[in-house]
């Protein structure tokens, strides 16, 4: 059913929500296991961390962030429409708005994460 494309924002929103959701679930499995290593085997955790901090790891983290941000914004849109049905009239505007927020929030975060992979300094600094 994922492949039976019928067009329109509703279908796309649903397909992206499902794909991003399954991807995040898979990462959560990995992430709870790797955090478990902080107690069980800290040296191995640091090895895993080196993979995450590698250029390919950073691409993965950026994609994970995109999946998270999309899923979060679209989930909020679903909740708004579920509990405030009058907003169904504006579902296209809500869909557009969620992508505007996605780009505004997502681009600086993606640059921050990817900069070290290109040998650049991360553009934003927070003390320490």
């Amino acid at each position: 059913m994922l492949l039976q494309y019928r067009g329109g924002p509703g279908m796309l929103a649903w397909a992206f929500h499902r794909i991003s959701g399954v991807a995040i679930w898979a990462f959560v499995l990995l992430h709870v296991l790797d955090i478990w290593l902080v107690g069980a085997n800290p040296t191995l955790y640091d090895d895993v961390l080196r993979v995450y901090a590698s250029p390919i790891g950073r691409v993965g983290e950026t994609l994970l962030g995109a999946a998270l941000l999309y899923h979060a914004l679209n989930g909020l849109r679903i909740i708004v429409i579920d509990f405030w049905p009058a907003m169904t009239r504006y579902h296209r505007q809500l869909w557009t708005a969620s992508w505007v927020v996605f780009v505004i929030l997502g681009v600086p975060v993606a640059i921050q994460i990817m900069a070290p992979a290109f040998g650049l300094n991360a553009p934003f600094h927070f003390g320490g």
Binding site: M1, R6, G8, P9, G10, M11, A13, W14, R18, G21, V22, I24, W25, V28, L29, V32, L33, I35, W36, L37, V38, G39, A40, P42, T43, Y45, D46, L49, R50, Y52, A53, G57, R58, E61, L64, G65, L68, L69, A72, G75, L76, R77, I78, I79, I81, D82, F83, T88, H91, L94, W95, P108, V109, Q112, I113, P116, A122, F124, F126
Partner: protein, 130 residues
């Protein structure tokens, strides 16, 4: 099997009980994760760099603070419920009969194991010696 292709999420189940409770809890944990998971991602990837958060750093700093451990355990509770019940919806959409029962039970077992592992590490990790 019908697929609801709408702008909104799953249709609210009628008749109450487990399915309706799950429908509400998916939305509640979703809001909880909007704050905790997005906040967690921003702190671990935007404020700090992944490379600087080694195991000893986590032990000394982030999890040297019981408030952060509490927040992280709450996030664990939200995410285990939300992601595994979400996968249950996926399983119900694509499978039926014995396969569906088997996969659903595997998901419940997996959720329990993951929740236990996460709870053990966040609750029993030694605080740094002062």
């Amino acid at each position: 099997m019908t697929v609801r292709v709408r702008g909104s999420g799953r249709v609210k189940p009628q008749g109450g009980g487990f399915e309706l409770a799950t429908w509400y809890l998916m939305r509640l944990t979703g809001i909880g994760l909007f704050v905790t998971a997005l906040g967690h991602y921003l702190i671990t990837h935007f404020v700090y760099d992944p490379a600087s958060q080694k195991a000893q750093w986590i032990i000394d700093n982030r999890w040297g603070n019981i408030a952060w451990r509490t927040v992280d355990w709450l996030m664990l509770s939200f995410v285990v419920f939300h992601s595994f019940m979400g996968m249950r919806t996926v399983v119900q959409d694509y499978t039926r009969g014995g396969t569906r029962t088997l996969l659903t039970m595997a998901l419940y077992l997996g959720a329990f194991v993951l929740f236990a592992l996460g709870t053990i590490v966040v609750a029993t990790l030694q605080f740094p010696v002062a």
